[in-house]
Homo-oligomer: 267 residues x 3
């Protein structure tokens, strides 16, 4: 079950992983013998006024969706993130714990449900932002407006999952194997810049060209880039040593994230 | 044939359906024995100066595309909308009468054509906005730049149709069956909010988080949300009673739609 | 190999093709017997400080990625553009020389690689803008974050290629055949407007409606539109005569492209 406490713990884990140069990958998974990967919020709590839907003392504009806080901590994380979905997933289990990740691996037998409209609540965890961006608004609309559950290979989920695997127990080992293959072969700083460029692309092709150009100039003079080219020429594995804490440059992050705690304008 | 008169009637129908709490679903379909679902504009009229392309007395910036007016009336409609495309579709029949709907069901034998560049006109009915959002710019470009016709299962249309069915006569009954399953099980207000969040998502993940958080707080204290959780726990069908006219809150709609009749800036 | 010199030549070719009314299509291809369609930048140069990554005398914000300059020259080109990818493609060969085109045809045996993070550089040629728009952020993330190579029919590339063909030698003839079928049957001005509407769509459905309406009014009174309707009625091939240099109207282009040479704000 997803809870406010779990949201706080997840945010802390992803913050620690983001800040510590020694962390290259964060994989989220569940016990493959558990009834589900994550079944979402506790409906008994919802009946009695769950804090997930807002504390009673908060005014309308003061609530901050815990699932959305988790989603932002993952989406804005600068490291490799993988959701290893080894069981059924519903609600936040299908949104916060999947959509903001770089890679999504899932068990073929999982049922993935976005039940919000059927429970007369609204989709959370920034899923109304992420789902359209990830797979297009046509299928995002079907998923969110019908409230149906789907198998991972359903056409409505096309493009969402990067690997669909037959057994629950193999999801994590295969995710770890994949993670090693990526993590051992990429520059930490170049990965963070690449994520930033994809997630915070320019508003036009011209603006994006300026962002990429500056990123290329910054990264292109790094030790890691020379190491990358040399290892490519010599057909050996690269040994990247640049780190986010030492080599990210003061330009990064180039975007000004909206302060969700104290936004200047009341949305 | 699509005409200015048809556009006015469609807009009126969708406005009535939007305003009347008793209306839960609007399905658009055609006579399954007709030559087409909709063949688009009358080319004889175009030769003689069709009002669809602008009245002669209008200045360049004064024309308002009737297909676009229909598309906005459907896209901004707060109820469940379904296009039951039971025949061939071309021009506005493929754009205004399909793209702005929540769900698109189609006959497998239909030919879907976006012929604009081949007729030396430009795509209308906000299709240059909707098609990219719905299925991505790569296939939208192929469809709009080639002017070709496609069967619904063509790879260029991947993701556009939610059900592709073998016979013309079954489209409407299956759409009605689907509509009932959704309409009987969703909260009217939560559905409208969900549509708004998907169609008017924030410009960034942070902004979207604020929009969702406020929507969650508003909806989360409604009678329908308690009913949703209780019916879930008791595994019974929910009995939702909240209505848009009584329970939508003054915050909704949170976006300020551009006034297309008198836009402040001349685009 | 992609080089600064090649980028300058490509930009010149696409500028000439854009300006000359007699040019209807630009197809980019390679020698089908060459080792690759394009293998990207020369890694030996990167080790020694390639100008592709910025000249040493340039300040951080002064670099302009040559691949991005090529991508903009192609994306903003008003004519039909086709990438006929008849060999392996990596780096700029997969980005600048493919993504900004209207149509992408490829050899089924080609290996397409976006190796940036594995070389500890960042994706260039506006690929962090284009790839998400073209096929969605979920697969764009997989492609750019993993640095893996893919065959054209890999699920991660779904929607990117419009034709996947079995032999290297047939790509160009089939691209030419396709190009003729489109070019002989479209109005040059309506095509350019359609590209503009898709690439520079409004920020909302309402704004897009205003843009399309004005484009419809301008194009709808042209000789070519009457010819289009008449040829449709008489079921004959149209003879379009309007040209971009004579008939594009002063409204076009309606967007104000950011001046990437001297942007007002330092991004």
């Amino acid at each position: 079950m997803f809870s406010v406490k779990m949201s706080e713990e997840l945010i802390r884990v992803f913050q620690l992983g983001d800040e510590d140069d020694r962390v290259h990958v964060i994989i989220l998974t569940a016990d493959p013998a558990a009834p589900a990967f994550c079944a979402g919020a506790d409906m008994d709590e919802v009946v009695n006024g769950s804090a997930l839907l807002g504390r009673k003392e908060d005014k309308e504009h003061e609530h901050r969706d815990p699932g959305g806080q988790v989603a932002m901590a993952i989406y804005n994380n600068r490291k490799i993130t993988i959701a290893a979905v080894n069981g059924h997933a519903s609600g936040t289990g299908a949104t916060a714990l999947q959509l903001p990740f770089d890679f999504r691996f899932i068990w073929a037998g999982a049922k993935v449900t976005f039940p919000f409209v059927r429970l007369s609540i609204v989709p959370e965890s920034t899923s109304t932002y992420l789902l359209s961006r990830l797979i297009g608004e046509s299928n995002a609309a079907y998923i969110l407006f019908s409230g149906d559950g789907h198998k991972p290979d359903a056409p409505f989920l096309a493009g969402l999952y990067h690997k669909i695997l037959p057994t629950r127990t193999e999801i994590l080992p295969i995710a770890i194997e994949f993670a090693k293959n990526v993590a051992y072969n990429i520059g930490q700083v170049s990965y963070a810049y690449t994520k930033g460029l994809l997630h915070r692309s320019g508003a036009s092709i011209e603006e994006n060209h300026l962002l990429e150009s500056r990123a290329i100039k910054i990264i292109g003079t790094s030790k890691d880039t020379v190491e990358g080219a040399q290892s490519f020429i010599k057909r050996r594995r690269p040994k990247y040593t640049d780190t986010l804490s030492e080599n990210a440059s003061s330009w990064y992050p180039w975007w000004k994230p909206l302060d969700v705690k104290k936004p200047k304008s009341k949305l």
